[in-house]
């Protein structure tokens, strides 16, 4: 779960990381003072807002209001700006990069740092980026901060500030269950202070059970995505017109790959994951109906999710709402015989193999 910049900065401030003075507003009228020259920054969960005109300087309350009214409501790469951060403008001497992230291939947390701040770290040549892995059994130790400070070319008091900041950022990542905490740019001001110019934090959504404060944060979701999220169903909207309900990410993707071979294009997919609750299947089916596909393909390989559970959920959904679109069901695995019997007279088109099901669905979708 991505946090808005102002939320990420609030969090960093709590961990003792210096951030500029600022406040967030959702309408220009809410700006009645500014702490000196400011930047007015669009709060959207996507990069590239500077280029899109989502960041503007202002030297007076009036200018700040003007900037805010220009930015609020602005569409930035598909995201509507609903809030702006009005923030003290810092006098930049130098910009560096500091990021802490979960790294899959080393199975550890790693720190990335570079003297080349302010740009996308992916575009910085590899030999200009320090990558320091944190051994999970050793954790953060001061020598790591010293390496980082040296790598970004800081010495003296700034090096000491950098070391402390590095430690605090790692502490934030582990304690807050963050997948990513990135400060880019990390600014060394003309007064020699090290301060977070921008802030990105992503919280591991699997850890929300122990971070109640994030559960209340609103995300930018469509109404259907919102519903799917409440049901703990992975819901992805794609370009085509076939609704795919499957269980497990791999099988879902394989279903899309198979449809593609027969020129079928998925419009929505719902991944039930591992459920054994007919109610969840029913809700998924009703959700799918709302997404208005031309044909629904149900492809289940039962394990944790038993086939008869899926059949029961399907029947309940069809009993509650008459489905106008053809439903193709390919249900294999644990308790498949029961499922087959249950669906015999339900008006569902049965398919036995993955390819057969994909071909049937593709044909219906092209009709």
């Amino acid at each position: 779960m991505k946090l808005f910049e102002y939320k990420a900065k609030e969090l960093m401030r709590r961990y003792g990381i210096p951030v500029p003075e600022g406040f967030v507003v959702s309408s220009p009228g809410q700006i009645d003072h500014i702490p000196g020259p400011v930047m007015v920054k669009a709060q959207v969960l996507i990069g590239g807002r500077g280029k899109a005109g989502g960041i503007k300087p202002a030297d007076s309350v009036e200018e700040a209001r003007k900037a805010a009214s220009a930015i609020l409501g602005m569409d930035i790469r598909g995201y509507t700006t609903k809030e702006v951060l009005v923030e003290e403008r810092v006098a930049v001497d130098k910009e560096v990069y500091l990021g802490v992230t979960v790294d899959r291939s080393s199975k550890s947390v790693l720190i990335m740092a570079s003297a080349a701040g302010g740009m996308d770290i992916e575009s910085v040549p590899e030999d200009e980026v320090l990558v320091a892995h944190l051994d999970p059994l050793i954790g953060y130790q001061p020598y790591i901060g010293r390496r980082v400070a040296k790598a970004v070319g800081l010495a003296g008091p700034q090096a000491a500030q950098m070391e402390s900041l590095c430690q605090r950022l790692c502490e934030l990542v582990t304690k807050e269950d963050a997948e990513l905490a990135e400060i880019n740019p990390l600014v060394v001001t003309e007064d020699g202070e090290v301060i977070a110019g921008d802030a990105k934090v992503t919280i591991d959504s699997d850890a929300l059970f122990r971070h109640k404060e994030y559960q209340e944060l609103k995300e930018d979701l469509t109404p259907l995505e919102e519903k799917a999220k409440k049901l703990d169903i992975a819901f992805v909207q794609l370009g085509g017109n076939i609704g795919v309900i499957a269980n497990g990410a791999g099988l879902t993707m394989a279903t899309l790959d198979s449809l593609n071979v027969f020129d079928g294009k998925a419009g929505v997919f719902l991944d039930l994951g591992g459920t054994d609750d007919p109610e969840k299947v029913k809700q998924a089916m009703l959700l799918m109906e709302e997404a208005d596909p031309k044909v629904i393909l149900v492809n289940i390989f039962g394990g944790i999710t038993k086939c008869d559970t899926v059949a029961a959920g399907l029947l309940e959904a069809m009993g509650e709402k008459s489905m106008e679109v053809p439903i193709i069901a390919r249900i294999k695995g644990v308790n498949e015989e029961q499922a087959r019997d249950m669906l015999k007279n339900a008006g569902v088109i049965p398919a036995s193999g993955l390819n057969e099901a994909a071909e049937l669905a593709a044909k219906e979708s092209l009709r």
Partner: protein, 286 residues
């Protein structure tokens, strides 16, 4: 010889009194697994399917000689459960639970490695050696004893492919579902190593998916160290970038983790890559 599970595996099921724990303990017993104990704190002294339940793994190991554990406890308690099993001295831990916080996984994966414990998961279906035993939730009926070793990052897609192989008369030596989490215990490379050493495995099937670089790393290892023929399928050729396809690992981000890059790496390592899951048996046989 076989891979990880065999006749001397004595299994303790952590979370045996829960719905999934109870159901799958029975399924594992039906498959031939020697389930010797269950653990649920506070339920010591009970029995499930005739299996004694203990309050701690330590007690279960002491009393029954359990040497492997299957973890079914809910995500918030998985870290504690896996560490408890490692501390109690079992050799193998299979963590089925999904939605385990990634920082918890990073820690217990590192501990397992340091202690020399084989850890599979979290968020994995487990493993099965047809005719011998299974640990986890893979469906019993899809398997057939044979000489193909299967390793997969997916759950249900593994069942799909194993089932297709079985229907085509191709049996399996061992099937390992390593799970789709970002930080898994056993990886492709670990499993490939075991298959290479296993006399009962003559051929290998690798099932990957988009996201991360595990398939590319596997390809590198195959080129260097695997002499047995390998067939692969990579799910998500048609998945759009930037969309998380179901679980945490499956996402193409910043142009990395694409099916095309994985397929290219695997083919360069001499692996035959099936366009669709249903094409796997044909390639294995060829």
């Amino acid at each position: 010889m076989t891979v990880i599970v065999d006749e001397i595996t004595k299994l303790v099921v952590q979370g045996i009194t829960g719905y999934q724990g109870t159901y799958h303990s029975k399924a594992m017993m039906d498959f031939g697994t020697d389930v010797v104990a269950g653990v649920t704190p506070g339920k010591g002294g009970h029995e499930v399917h005739g299996v004694p339940v203990f309050d701690t793994v330590e007690e279960a190991v002491e009393r029954t000689g359990a040497n492997a554990s299957c973890v079914f406890v809910p995500a918030p308690f998985t870290k504690g459960a896996v560490l408890e099993a490692i501390d109690a001295g079992v050799a193998t831990v299979v963590a089925v639970t999904e939605h385990v916080p990634v920082h918890d996984a990073i820690y217990f994966v590192a501990v397992a490695k340091a202690k020399g414990v084989v850890l599979i998961g979290p968020n994995c279906p487990g493993l099965a050696s047809p005719g011998l035993a299974k640990i986890g939730i893979l469906p019993n009926k899809i398997f057939r004893r044979g000489d193909v070793g299967v390793v997969s990052r997916s759950g249900t897609l593994t069942y799909e492919i194993v089932n297709a192989m079985t229907e085509a008369g191709l049996g399996q030596s061992t099937c390992v579902g390593i799970g789709g989490d970002r930080v898994p215990g056993m990886g492709f490379v670990d499993a490939l190593k075991l298959f290479q050493e296993d006399d009962g495995t003559k051929r290998i099937v690798l099932v990957g998916e988009i996201g991360g670089t595990a398939e590319e790393e596997a390809a590198e290892f195959i080129a260097e160290s695997i002499t047995k023929p390998v067939v692969a399928y990579v799910a998500g050729r048609t998945a759009p970038p930037g969309k998380r396809m179901g679980h945490a690992g499956a996402i193409i981000a910043r142009g990395r983790g694409t099916a095309a890059s994985k397929i290219k790496a695997l083919e360069a390592a001499g692996v035959r890559v099936a366009p669709l899951p249903t094409d796997v048996p044909g390639l294995v046989r060829a």
